[in-house]
């Protein structure tokens, strides 16, 4: 396993591609989820860039963190599978299976992140029935945004530990 070998180069490319894909999924997924939860009443880009809405950026950061953590947790089983099953010889079929596994794992990460966010917000909504959180955030209520972000961080921390287990079980990684 010399790091200058072909295996090292290919592994680095796969690893970087996974990190890049995770980043893209985290950011785009987070923006999409905010739009979904706020029933398209919030334009994230406009709120952050034009209105300098700190609340929206806080919530976006927590969403990116939650989905990003889920994606990172899937990278280790993917790389483990790469070294053990594919790095020392592969066929077209095995590579296709590996690629589908990667796509599936990242999709699982995105869905898990969305589930974490959904659960966090549901918990808050049950506790504070008379408050419309998204409206408050839209009007610049940073305190509400801070509470949502903190809830997502905590629920996310509990969830991230089981993601690699799910990925290993589902895709045989």
């Amino acid at each position: 396993m010399n790091e200058t070998s072909q295996l090292g180069i290919v592994s680095t490319v796969i690893y970087l591609a996974l990190i890049f894909a995770s980043s893209i999924i985290s950011v785009l997924g987070s923006i999409g989820i905010i739009r979904f939860f706020a029933r398209k009443s919030i334009d994230v880009k406009e709120e952050i860039v034009k209105n300098k809405n700190v609340g929206i950026s806080l919530v976006l950061v927590s969403f990116i963190w939650a989905i990003g953590r889920m994606c990172i947790e899937t990278i280790q089983p993917i790389m483990n599978a790469w070294y053990s099953s594919y790095a020392y010889g592969f066929t077209f079929r095995s590579i296709l299976r590996f690629s589908l596994g990667i796509l599936g794992s990242l999709l699982i990460a995105l869905l898990s992140g969305a589930l974490v966010i959904f659960l966090s917000i549901r918990i808050l909504m049950v506790l504070t029935r008379d408050i419309d959180e998204w409206l408050e955030i839209k009007y610049g209520n940073t305190a509400v945004a801070l509470v949502i972000a903190a809830t997502i961080f905590v629920v996310g921390m509990f969830f991230e530990s089981i993601i690699s287990y799910i990925v290993i079980r589902m895709f045989g990684f």
Binding site: M1, G8, S11, T12, Y15, I75, M79, Y83, Y88, S164
Partner: protein, 292 residues
């Protein structure tokens, strides 16, 4: 003249000292205590009596000295099934059995240390992996060559992964506390692990260390990593390699980078370990034991 508060404080300090000092003092003239690194959470029960050898492949061939044949069938990197045969000398097995383990009731510190234990505090012992590793080196050159031959590796390919796969596929089972009448603390030395065809985390890790370092021209640096926290104790092997992307790494100042090798079960590539063990390493809750 001390005030009342000072007197009360002094009394509290004396009382605390009186309670804690006996706990901190070494307990001499008591039964030796052994710290076992072979406990794996979720592993088989500790209540193990001496167990009969299982799954012995082949029989005994007799010429000048009796040899035990041990057959292993395992899946290589290319997913092809391989069969490896080891011929273990009865003389070596007997010698190794006698060299490790303490007879019941033995309290002599000198004897216990001679029989493969390390005294880390008065009357407190752990398994001396380095001593066992060094002693077992004499048996392994031929065994390592046999394993390399059966691995059928392409020319120039290093045997690390193949050897790891072989050891991972040896049955994971916790050795008994007593073996041949000696207290072995649920640990099989490498030769006995091969003879019995099973072992637990530290037994299999040390076996892999022997295979990796006794090949002709091998210059591997290996270390045992004993990760421990509360009731979770687990052993893995570490080998000096520069890590590839995604791998867990240990850095030992002066010795360089090591990657962990998980021998307990198949499915772990070099450099990949479970989340819990990685967490313990990250927190520094490990013992790094250099073997060579």
């Amino acid at each position: 003249m001390a005030t009342r508060t000072q007197k009360v404080n002094r009394a509290i300090v004396l009382l605390t000292a009186a309670v804690t000092m006996p706990l901190l003092m070494p307990r001499r003239a008591l039964t030796p205590r052994f710290i076992s690194p072979s406990l794996l959470v979720g592993g088989p029960s500790a209540a193990a009596a001496r167990q009969a050898p299982q799954n012995k492949g082949g029989g005994v061939s007799a010429e000048k000295e009796r040899l035990f044949l041990r057959k292993f069938t395992w899946q290589s990197i290319s997913k092809a099934w391989r069969e490896t045969e080891f011929h273990l000398s009865e003389k070596d097995i007997k010698k190794e059995t006698r060299s490790f383990g303490v007879p019941h009731g033995e309290k002599s510190s000198f004897f216990i240390k001679k029989m493969g234990y390390l005294e880390i505090a008065p009357n407190l012992y752990i398994i001396n992996y380095r001593q066992i590793y060094q002693r077992n080196r004499e048996y392994f050159p031929a065994l390592s060559s046999a394993l390399l031959l059966s691995s059928a590796l392409p020319p120039g390919e290093e045997p690390l992964f193949a050897f790891l796969l072989f050891v991972q596929q040896i049955q994971y089972k916790r050795p008994p506390k007593y073996y041949e009448g000696r207290f072995i603390d649920c640990f099989f030395t490498p030769l006995i692990c091969l003879y019995e065809q099973y072992g637990d985390c530290d037994s299999k890790s040390l076996l892999l260390a022997e295979f990796l370092t006794t090949l002709p021209g091998a210059r591997e640096k290996v270390a045992m990593i004993v990760a421990s926290r509360f009731s979770t104790t687990h052993s893995i092997l570490a080998v000096d390699r520069k890590p590839l992307p995604g791998m867990t790494t240990l850095y030992n100042p002066g010795k360089g980078y090591f990657i962990p090798l998980e021998t307990s079960a198949p499915g772990w590539s070099p450099g990949f370990i479970s989340r819990n063990v990685a967490e313990l390493i990250r927190k520094g809750k490990i013992f790094f034991i250099d073997l060579n």
